[in-house]
C-alpha cells in the first residue's frame, strides 16, 4: 500500500519504546483530534447560532431542542472542549515528567504553552456565547479583571470586549474571538507545534549512544495506533454527549438577575477561590500570570535534564521541575475543590 498524505505526516519509523501509549499517554495526539472535533462541530453550530444579544440564547435553545441532532452536536462540542483542557494538562505533565522539554524542544514547549492559553481562552469565549443568565457574572468579573491591569487594562478591556457594558455588548466581539480571532492562531500554532515535533527529532528519546532500546516501529503501525485512539476517543465522546447534555440556562436579559449563578466555569474556579482573598489584580491576574511565567521558564532556568534521562518517566535529573509542576497542579485542584465547600 502506498503511504497517504496522513502517513507522510509521520516519520518513516519512530522508536518503539517512546511510541507506546504507556509512554506518551497519547495525550498530544488526542488533543489534536479533539481540536478537529471542535472545529467540525463548531462550524456545524455556526449554521444555526445567531450572534446578537436578543437571539443568541434562543438560538442555542433551538440548536439544543429543535435542530435534528443539534443537542448532540452541541454536547459533543462542549465535552470535546472540556476534555481538550484536561488532555492538554495531561500532555503538559507528561512532557515535564519525561523531561521532554530540553533543547532543541524548548521553543516547541513554549508553543505548547501558547496553545494551552489559546485553548483556555477559546473555552471561555465559547462559554460566553451561550449568553444565558449563568454567564453574566463570569463575563463581568473576567473582563473587569482586565481593567485592573495598570497602564493597558482599559485598552485590553476594549480590545477583548469591544467596550460598552460587558453583559450587554460583549457578545459580538466574543463571537469574533471565538470563531476567528483565537481559532486562526490556534490552527497556525498547532501546525507549527506538530512541525516542530518532527523537526526536533520526534518524540523525545535519549541520544543514540545512550539509548537502551533500539527497536523501532513503522509509520503504518503508528498511524494504526492513532486511528484506534481516535475511535476510542470518539466512542467516549459520543457516549458522554448522549448521556450528559451540555449545560443550558434561561436567556439573559441585560441586568444581572439576583438569582443568577455566581460560579465561575469549572476551569476558572481556582481563580474565583483566590479572588476571595483580596485584591483582584494580584489574585486574578498576577498570580495566574506568574504561574504561566514559571511554567515557561522550566526549560530555561531549571536544571537541565541529563541526556540519558530524556524520554523516561520520572527521571532523577529534573526532579525540581517535576515537583514544581506537581505542586502547581495540586494547588489548582485544591483551590477548585475548595469552592465546593462553602
Amino acid at each position: 500500500m502506498r503511504p497517504s498524505f496522513f502517513h507522510h505526516l509521520h516519520p518513516p519509523t519512530i522508536p518503539a519504546a517512546q511510541a507506546r501509549c504507556r509512554h506518551t499517554l497519547a495525550a498530544g495526539g488526542t488533543a489534536i483530534f479533539l481540536m478537529l472535533i471542535l472545529g467540525i462541530t463548531g462550524i456545524m453550530e455556526m449554521f444555526h447560532y445567531v450572534p446578537n444579544p436578543q437571539e443568541a440564547a434562543l438560538s442555542v435553545q433551538t440548536i439544543t431542542y429543535h435542530v435534528p441532532f443539534g443537542g448532540f452536536i452541541r454536547s459533543l462540542h462542549y465535552w470535546a472542549a472540556q476534555l481538550l483542557l484536561i488532555v492538554s494538562v495531561i500532555h503538559l505533565l507528561r512532557v515535564v515528567f519525561t523531561a521532554a522539554y530540553g533543547h532543541p524542544r524548548r521553543f516547541n514547549y513554549l508553543l505548547g504553552l501558547g496553545l494551552f492559553i489559546l485553548a483556555i481562552l477559546l473555552d471561555f469565549t465559547g462559554y460566553i456565547l451561550r449568553w444565558d443568565v449563568d454567564i453574566c457574572y463570569p463575563l463581568l468579573t473576567g473582563t473587569n479583571l482586565l481593567k485592573t491591569i495598570p497602564l493597558f487594562g482599559d485598552s485590553l478591556f476594549r480590545i477583548a470586549v469591544g467596550g460598552g457594558e460587558a453583559c450587554s455588548t460583549g457578545l459580538l466581539r466574543f463571537y469574533v474571538w471565538h470563531i476567528f480571532g483565537l481559532t486562526l492562531p490556534i490552527i497556525i500554532l498547532v501546525a507549527w507545534h506538530a512541525f516542530r515535533v518532527r523537526r526536533d527529532g520526534g518524540i523525545a528519546v535519549p541520544p543514540p549512544h545512550l539509548r537502551v532500546n533500539n527497536e523501532r516501529i513503522s509509520r503504518n503501525v503508528l498511524v494504526r495506533r492513532e486511528v484506534l485512539i481516535m475511535f476510542i476517543v470518539s466512542i467516549v465522546l459520543i457516549l458522554m454527549a448522549s448521556f450528559l447534555p451540555a449545560p443550558i440556562a434561561p436567556a439573559m436579559t441585560g441586568n444581572p438577575s439576583i438569582a443568577a449563578n455566581a460560579r465561575a466555569p469549572w476551569f476558572f474556579l481556582w481563580v474565583q477561590e483566590m479572588l476571595k482573598w483580596g485584591d483582584p489584580f494580584i489574585f486574578g491576574v498576577l498570580i495566574p500570570f506568574g504561574i504561566l511565567v514559571l511554567l515557561a521558564l522550566i526549560p530555561y532556568i531549571f536544571p537541565k535534564p541529563a541526556d540519558s534521562d530524556i524520554g523516561t518517566w520520572f527521571p532523577k535529573s529534573n526532579r525540581l521541575a517535576q515537583i514544581v509542576v506537581s505542586v502547581i497542579a495540586l494547588i489548582v485542584i485544591a483551590l477548585t475543590l475548595m469552592t465546593f465547600i462553602q
Binding site: 468579573t141 476594549r158 467596550g163 455566581a262 483580596g278
Partner: protein, 138 residues
C-alpha cells in the same frame, strides 16, 4: 566607532525597517480593535414620583442596580455594584453580600469583610420641580 561592513549595515537597516513596520502595524491593529461604537452608558435615571418612596423606606431598584433610601435627611442612594469586581450585591437582613467572592457590606455600604476594600458607592439623588426623583451614577 567600530567598523561595520556595508552588507551588515544594509541587513541591519532592512531588519530595522521590518521591525518598525511590524510595530506600526501592531499599533494600528490595536487601535483598530480598540474602537468602541457603543454609546456611553446612561448615567441619569428617572425614578418617578417621590411619593412612591415614603419616609424610612429602602427600595431596591433594578435599573440601575441601587437601593434608594428616604430618611429625615432626604433622598440618597447606594450603588449595589460590588467594589471588588462588579457583581451585584444581594440585600440581606443586616446589609449586603456579594455572591461572587464573598464580600460583605453593612446597610450603609461600609465593608464588613471580604476581598472588597472600598465601600459601596454613594449615588446622588435630586428632586425635580415636579416632584420626581433623578438618580445619577456618574
Amino acid at each position: 566607532m567600530s567598523e561595520i561592513s556595508r552588507r551588515d549595515f544594509l541587513k541591519l537597516a532592512r531588519d530595522g525597517f521590518l521591525y518598525l513596520s511590524g510595530a506600526l502595524a501592531l499599533g494600528g491593529l490595536l487601535r483598530f480593535l480598540e474602537y468602541d461604537p457603543n454609546p456611553a452608558p446612561k448615567t441619569e435615571f428617572d425614578l418617578g414620583s417621590a411619593s412612591n418612596f415614603p419616609l424610612n423606606s429602602r427600595t431596591l431598584l433594578s435599573n440601575p442596580q441601587a437601593v434608594l433610601l428616604h430618611t429625615e435627611n432626604g433622598f440618597s442612594a447606594l450603588s449595589l455594584v460590588c467594589t471588588h469586581l462588579g457583581c451585584t450585591v444581594e440585600q440581606k437582613t443586616d446589609g449586603f453580600t456579594c455572591p461572587c467572592h464573598g464580600s460583605r457590606f453593612d446597610s450603609n455600604g461600609t465593608v464588613i469583610n471580604g476581598p472588597a476594600e472600598k465601600p459601596l458607592r454613594s449615588l446622588r439623588v435630586e428632586t425635580t420641580n415636579e416632584g420626581n426623583l433623578k438618580l445619577f451614577t456618574a
